[in-house]
Every structure is written in C-alpha cells, then in structure tokens.
C-alpha cells in the first residue's frame, strides 16, 4: 500500500503525518506536491494540517483550487482512503468531499492542548482498531475548529453514523453536537480537527492516535461502506 501526503504551500504537519506512517508504522509514504495533477499508483491520500496559503481568505478556501484537487476527488470517488486532519479537514469541507464548515473557535483564540474524544463509529476503515465508544485523548491545535452545518445536514450526519469522533467532557471550540471528526456517506473520506499523528509514540505523551493509522493500513485498498 502506497500513501501520498499532499504538501500545499503552508502545510506544516506534513512531516508529522509522514513520520507517523513511515517511521512508526513502517508504511510506504511519499510527499506529493500541490502542483502535481495525478495520484496514480497511490492507494490512500493524506491532507496534513498547517496553514495552506496562509489560511488567507478562509481556511482551506484557496487550497481547493490547487492542481492536485481533481486527483484527490478522483481517489475519493474510486473508494480509496482520503484522510484530512486539521487544515486537511478544512480543505475537505471546502472542496466538497465532506459537508459543513469549520468556523473560528468560540474563544476566538488558537488552542493547543490534549482533549478527550469518544470513537462514535468504529466501522470505518480509519477506526476499526478502536473499540466502539472508547474514550481516547488526542491533541488539538487550531484556531478555526468549530464544526458547523445546517440542522438537516447535522441530522443526516447523525443518522448515517457519519460522526466518527466526538469531543467528550469538554467542547474546546463550539462545534455543533460536539463534532470532532466526520466521514462521508461511503466512509472512505475522514476529516477531523484533532491530530492523531501527534499521538503515536509514548515519548510524545501518548499513543491513542496509532490505531487510526493501523486501521487505515489494515484496509489498504478495500472499499468500505459507512
């Protein structure tokens, strides 16, 4: 299984997700420039965190016009795994692969700290190694992480079990329904604000993010339904 990590101008968690997959999980990973137009030969694609295009205009709003975007959409439509964390999640909503939008945190401040989450759906290719409803701790680091969608969309996300991660105990940014991460209907596109790639080694303070990458590697090119 070969995994692409997209590098947009201003991506800065590209190294983190690369190292989590490569050094920790031993996966085959390559950086792919935003200027590339094809992802042929890749089985999964990662959209890293950071500040693509400086987050100018609106988080993710410029990245959706990058040359690589059609290739990412093509992978999603083929049922291959597409994962975005933080800025990657914002980009996924801006490019329409996931519904809703990420607004500025209620506190109007950037916040970096560990948060508690519950795994709400372990029947996705990204979460199969977690127990259903297990509580985990992952770091967040964002200024615009408040998930918003109209009530019909929220209802649909809930009914379809597309809410994959939910903040437990404390909602750090004002997200509706405490939503921390969602997948598409088919279950092969996941976006989340917390950073599982920062929680894959004990020395960094925890390993609760590791099952996500292991699940993803288990599934490889298998197409899954939510």
């Amino acid at each position: 299984m070969k995994i692409a990590v997209i590098v947009f101008p201003g991506s800065n968690c590209d190294v983190d997700i690369y190292e989590a997959l490569h050094s920790v999980c031993g996966a085959q990973v390559e950086y792919v420039s935003h200027k590339a137009t094809s992802l042929t030969g890749f089985d999964a694609v990662m959209l890293p965190g950071g500040f693509s295009y400086g987050d100018y205009l609106r988080c993710g709003a410029i990245a959706r016009f990058a040359n690589i975007i059609p290739a990412i959409k093509k992978m999603a439509s083929e049922g291959k795994l597409v994962f975005g964390t933080c800025n990657g999640f914002q980009i996924l909503t801006e490019m329409g692969l996931l519904p809703g939008a990420l607004k500025q945190n209620d506190s109007m401040q950037f916040v970096c700290k560990p948060v508690s989450l519950t795994v709400e759906n372990n029947r996705t290719p990204f979460t199969s190694r977690y127990q259903q409803n297990v509580e985990i701790t992952l770091p967040i680091a964002h200024g615009d992480g408040s998930f918003y969608a109209d009530s019909a969309t929220i209802d649909k996300l809930e009914q379809n079990h597309q809410v994959v991660f939910r903040y437990a105990h404390e909602n750090p940014n004002g997200s509706l329904n405490d939503i921390a991460g969602i997948c598409n209907e088919r279950g092969n596109v996941l976006g989340m604000m917390p950073h599982p790639e920062r929680a894959v080694e004990e020395i960094l303070g925890g390993t609760d993010g590791l099952p996500l990458f292991k699940s993803l590697l288990d599934h490889g090119t298998v197409k899954a339904e939510a």
Binding site: P9, G10, A20, S23, F51, F110, V200, E201
Partner: protein, 743 residues
C-alpha cells in the same frame, strides 16, 4: 531622483540628529572617513548602520567581557546566530532577539515580526528552525485594560506567526511588574538544527557574483526601525507608529523552505546568505560585503517595490519583512531563480560583487551612494560611557534587611500562587502550537522545554530566564543569578548546559547609573558563563527601554541550551510515585530582597542580595546532573519565584500525589524566601542513602511523597496542611480570571 537635501543643507540643518547620529559622528564621517560631505542617502545609511541596534557602539566594550569560545562552539557572535556542536556531525543554531519597542507600540505586529526576524536569523545560517521560546515582561494587568490588551495581542502575535510557520513554541517566561508599564519587553528565542556541513555565512565575495533579492516587496514600513530601537520613548511615541513593520508568516514559510532547499541541495550555487533585519537592505548587503572583504554595486531600480516613488533612502532603510539577500555564484542566477519560482517567490539580481571595496548604489540613473564598505560597518566610533553606582545600591547595603512574618503559611501560599508572575501561564501558552513537528518531549509549563532529535538518542533542552528585580537591586549578583537560574532549569530536566544567547534589555545608557547596571550585570553574567563553561554564542542588546524618562529594571535575559544525552532519561518536574523520598537541595535563608513575597506585601522591592558563590553552584549542578544521568532521580524542580512553597505545589500539580514534610527549621516566611541554588528532588526510597551521600551537606531529606493529594509540612511554630486540588485551582484560574476581568 533628486535628493531631499543637498550635502551643504544637511551640514547646516542637521537632519541626522533626528536619526540619532550625533554631530560629532557626522563630522568624523565627513572629515576623517569620506573627506567630503555625505549626501542625503549616505547620511541616512550612516545613521542606521551606526545606530546602537546595528553597531553596538555603546555596548561593545561591555560585550567583550563575555567568553565566546569553547570546545563545542563552531560559530560565536558576529553571524546571524551562534552554532554549537551536538555530536554526530550535527549542530544547533540559536539566538534570541528583542523586539521591545515595536511590541510596545503595536503589540500584535511587533511580537509577530519579532518572531519572524529571529526565524530568518536561524535559517539563514543553514539550519531548520525547530523550536521557539519567548520571554515576555508586561506591566501590571490588574485594573489596566490597556495592558491586558497589550498582553493578549503580544501573545497572539507570537502564536500566530510561529503557529503558521509550523515551529513549536515550547516554553518561555512571562512576568508582570510596574516597571514595564510604559515599555514592555518581547524577547524571542529560536533554535534550529543542521548538519554541520550545511553551515552558511552572511558573506559576499567573488568579483562578478550576483547579489540576489528574494521575498516580499519593499515598502515604506519600518523606515529607521533600527534607530527607533536606539531612542527612548516619550509621549511623542504616537507619531512613531510608522516604524512598526507588518508580518506575513505564510511568505516567510515559503522563503524558509526555498532557502533551505538551496542550502541543503545546491550549496555550490551559494556564496552567502543573510536576512534583511534591522536597517533592511543596507545592513544585510554592507555586512555581507564587509564579511567577504568585497565591494558591492547595487541598482535600486531593480529592487521590487510595493509603493511608487520611493527614494533611495527609503528603499535602503525600509524594514519590510520576509526578505533575504543572497550572494550567488555567477552563472547560477537562473538555477536559483527556478527554485524560488517553484515557491512563487519574487527573486531579482539587484547587483554584483566588485573588488574595489566600495559600496555603490544607483538609483534613477544617478549614483546616490559611493563610500567604502568599511566606513558603514567597521569604522563605527565606539562611544565611551560614564558609569556611576546608583545611590540606591549604597543605601540598600546599609539598610536593615526586611524580614517579614507570615502568620498563616497556607493562606499566604494561596495568595502567592495567584500572583500573575507565579500563576500558571497556560492561558497564554496554550495559544502556541507546542507540538507541531512531533518532537516535543517537554512543552510549556516546565523548568525547560525539551525536544528530541529525530533519528538519534539525543535531546535538546532550552530555557529563557530573566529577573529584572534582582538585577535592579544588585546588577552583578542579579546577572550571575540569571545565569544560575537558567543553568538550574537546564539541569532540572537532566540536560548538560552547553552555551547561551542573551538579550540585554536596559534603559538609556547615556545615564551613568544605567550604564553601570549594564556593565556590572554583564560582569556577573560573564563570570557565571566562565564558571559554568557556557559561552555566549549570540545575542542582542536593547537599550533605551524607557518611557517618559522612567527606565525598566535592567533585565538581561539568558537563553540557555543544554544537551540531553539520552532522551529516555529526561527528568520530569512532577512527583512520580507515593513513597518516594523528598530532598530539599541548598540553603534557605532570609532572602526576601526582590522576592515575589516582598513585592506582594510591600508593593515594591528593596534591600541587598546575598552574594552567590558560583563555584559552589557549579559543583552542585554537576553533582545533581550526575545523579540524574545515573537514573537515581525521579523528579527535579528548581526553586525560583515564590520559593520553596510554590515549587512544592508545582511539583504536585497535575498529579494525584501529596507530600508530608518536616521543615521545622524554616519559618513560615522562609517558605517564600528566594535563596538561589536550590531544588526539590524526589528519589526512590532505595536510592535515598546513595543520593544523600553523593550530595552531602547540599541535600536534606525532608519527607516523603504521599498518596493523598495534600501538601503537609511542619514549619517552625506552624503546620501547613493544604488540599493540592485547591491550590491547583487558584494557580490555574488566576491568570485567565485577571485577563478576562472588566475592572
């Protein structure tokens, strides 16, 4: 373009006085260096390059006191940043820089561009920046909405820039004191890592080689920022707003990636590289030419400009951010351009290297500057300074020491934990991404920040420490104590101190008492540097930190870096396990002069400091480090502001543990004494004898770690018995509560 004044008009009207060039200097330049009258542009260049900020003309005699050589030192002061060998062919590159004046006037942009500037210093050396620290000193925020706004915006400026760049801010310090009310301090520290073979220099040489300009366009922002930093504030400072620059971290991220790509993959194209910091194009280009012993011929019409009709003077002195200057070997201009093109960055060849030693500028078809390079960089007149011991020091030595009585140690501890300087600064530090690049082993809130070096067993520890109160009360001892505090923080996490950078923040050095503070505090620091074998590899001087003639406390900031030999043996600050034995290291005396307790109870500080035996401190640090490296220490926390009481509480916060201690030989007040050279450590019971033997009289076994969440201690005539959860609550809530208050 016509010059704004003729050379004769300049001589007569003396506009340079406003640019901080003295008449004596002007005459020296005209009579002794150029043997003619400088024109308008040339006069502007001299005033910027001869400012204290660029030339260190006032502080140079003092800076010479610092040791800057050592077996691990690959590059000392003089380049963008210092370089220190960390074995395996790797090096760390670090520096701290002040941005006090801009941050005081416009906190958000001042702080942001302070971070941006220090990052360019690091990556221009060929290193990838991997961690930042800050040192923030604000006025009192209680009942002062303006100061709260400034604190909030300063922190946001630091955070937004570093977060966007993807460089973790892993620690620092924040203090509050009325002396910073009119002049806040922002010192930004950054550390980078590189393979030693990639080390770059800010030099330009080789006749015909290209001078290439990269990055943001040049605008009218920040003109005379360097001289702005070399004057004190007055009520007029509202009119100095245009001296503040505006930052664009996204541009800087691209610039960093592009520069590092060239340095790492195509070093053969490059002769030298330097960032455009204070005094913009002129300082970067003249310093590079001076370093390469070359001349330089630049055409200013080629400089990318953001605004129309800029004069040569404005182009040369603009401090627009996110710009770099490269000296590229002839024939590789297009190769370099291709790399920058990929990042959509503007890159232009603006001139060539010559061999006549002249600095020549063309603008609008005219030669607007034609002067020897060395006159700008090397011929600066050092200014002799007068010094006089401040009268308060004499008085303090004669006055009886202030020794308070504390009736209720528990109540006092709670009050102390809420003082803004002592309380948790999580409200600020959680606005910084402290984890990006996934190498942060110890983040904000500990004695020092620690990063692992990926692919090795090594770790790098770093801390920023400054305490203006001690330096104010005794410059020499205060300077030495700042060093001792930094070294204690490094050793507390199990690292070996390697070297330091510094920011020297003082008032107007033309005041003999302030020059005395500068001189004697640097003597104290330098003596400690020699004793601890931690040379100074880089640094910066910020003078004229005054507002309406009221100077800040002299506040030298020490940025110390240490090496952790095995990252799996980083020593935590927190107590680890019930049953462990608690040792108090060092002597606790009636050291209340300059303490947080004195400030809180008296409203001001006074008194004399007890001398510090640097040799003893060094021996203690070495012995403690050896025990830590041998695996005999479970936790270490150094004692600083708030003394033993605060340190004990901090050792227990965010654990479920408590302590039961016998401190019967201490008064309740001594729980808050700030005697130096002290630590609280916890060790496993089976190691207690060995630890006691190794440390001898320096250590005293005072009790055990308990499973209940209470801090209990028998003091002389009092029993302290507090619920740690209650203490933690007041400690955590104090700062957010103050910051959000409406009063």
């Amino acid at each position: 373009m016509k010059q704004a004044m003729t050379p004769e008009e300049i001589k007569e009207k003396k506009p340079y006085i406003d640019w901080s060039l003295t008449e004596h200097e002007y005459n020296y330049i005209a009579d002794k260096l150029l043997h003619r009258l400088p024109n308008y542009t040339e006069t502007g260049l001299f005033s910027a390059m001869w400012s204290e900020h660029c030339s260190y003309k006032k502080s140079k005699p003092v800076l010479r006191l610092f040791p800057n050589k050592g077996k691990r030192i690959l590059q000392g002061p003089g380049e963008g940043a210092g370089v220190v060998d960390i074995d395996d062919g790797q090096a760390v590159v670090f520096k701290a820089e002040s941005h006090n004046h801009p941050t005081t006037v416009e906190p958000y942009q001042g702080a942001a561009t302070g971070v941006g500037g220090i990052l360019r210093d690091i990556f221009s050396m060929g290193a990838r920046p991997i961690a930042s620290l800050d040192s923030l000193h604000f006025g009192e925020i209680a009942h002062d909405a303006t100061m709260r706004y400034k604190a909030e915006q300063t922190v946001k400026g630091v955070g937004d820039y570093g977060n966007c760049m993807g460089i973790p801010t892993i620690g620092g310090e924040t203090t509050f004191d009325p002396c910073y009310q009119g002049n806040i301090l922002l010192n930004a520290f950054n550390l980078g890592i590189m393979d030693q073979k990639n080390m770059e220099r800010g030099q330009a040489s080789g006749v015909g080689n290209a001078v290439m300009y990269v990055g943001a366009k040049t605008g009218r922002d920040g003109i005379h920022g360097a001289t702005f930093a070399s004057k004190d504030f007055s009520k007029e400072h509202a009119t100095q707003r245009s001296a503040v620059q505006v930052g664009d971290p996204f541009m800087e991220k691209l610039l960093m990636e592009a520069c590092l790509e060239i340095i790492e993959e195509h070093p053969e194209w490059l002769v030298g590289i330097q960032d455009m910091g204070a005094a913009g194009i002129v300082s970067s280009s003249a310093e590079m030419a001076s370093e390469g012993k070359s001349g330089m011929d630049l055409n200013l019409d080629l400089v990318p400009q953001r605004e129309p009709n800029m004069s040569a003077y404005e182009i040369m002195l603009s401090e627009s951010q996110e710009r770099m200057l490269l000296c590229v070997k002839k024939g590789h201009e297009d190769d370099v351009k291709k790399v920058f093109d990929y990042y959509d960055l503007e890159v232009v060849t603006i001139g060539r290297i010559t061999d006549d030693g002249m600095y020549v500028l063309h603008h609008d078809g005219q030669v607007v500057c034609n002067i020897p390079v060395h006159t700008l960089v090397d011929d600066v007149l050092e200014e002799p300074s007068e010094e006089r011991e401040p009268a308060r020091l004499q008085q303090a030595r004669q006055a009886p020491a202030w020794v308070p009585e504390v009736a209720n140690a528990g109540a006092m501890l709670k009050q102390m934990l809420q003082q803004p300087t002592i309380a948790s600064d999580r409200y600020f530090t959680q606005q910084y991404d402290s984890q990006v690049r996934t190498s942060t082993v110890v983040g904000p809130g500990s004695d020092a920040g620690v990063l692992r070096v990926r692919g090795t067993k090594k770790g790098i520890a770093m801390t920023n420490d400054g305490n203006g109160r001690f330096v104010y009360l005794d410059p020499y001892i205060g300077g030495a104590r700042a060093m001792a505090e930094a070294a204690a923080n490094i050793v507390a996490c199990g690292a070996e101190p390697l070297a330091i950078t510094d920011c020297l923040n003082y008032g107007d050095p033309n005041d003999p008492e302030i020059f005395y503070e500068l001189h004697h505090s640097v003597m104290g620091m330098a003596d400690a540097c020699k004793e601890f074998e931690t040379p100074v590899v880089s640094g910066n001087v910020s003078l004229y930190n005054e507002n309406d003639d009221k100077a800040i406390h002299p506040t030298p900031m020490v940025g110390m870096v240490g090496l952790v030999h095995d990252i799996n043996h980083v020593i935590p600050m927190k107590a680890q396990q019930a049953g462990n034995v608690v040792f108090l290291l060092g002597q606790t005396g009636d050291d209340f002069a300059g303490s947080e307790l004195q400030k809180m109870l008296q409203g001001d500080i006074s008194g004399a400091l007890a001398p510090l035996n640097l040799k003893d401190v060094h021996q203690h640090l070495k012995k403690l480090l050896k025990l830590e490296q041998d695996g005999l220490v479970q936790s270490t926390h150094d004692l600083s502001e708030g003394g033993l009481g605060v340190a004990l509480a901090e050792t227990l916060f965010h654990t479920e543990l408590g302590m039961k201690l016998d401190l019967a030989d201490l008064t309740a007040a001594q729980l808050f004494s700030e005697s130096p050279d002290r630590f609280v450590i916890t060790v496993k019971a089976e190691h207690a004898v060995e630890v006691q033997q190794a440390l001898g009289d320096y250590a005293k076994q005072v009790g055990t770690v308990t499973a209940d969440h209470r801090l209990q201690a028998q003091m002389r005539g009092q029993y302290l018995n507090e619920n740690v959860a209650t203490l933690e609550k007041v400690y955590e809530e104090a700062l957010p509560c103050l910051m959000k208050s409406k009063a």
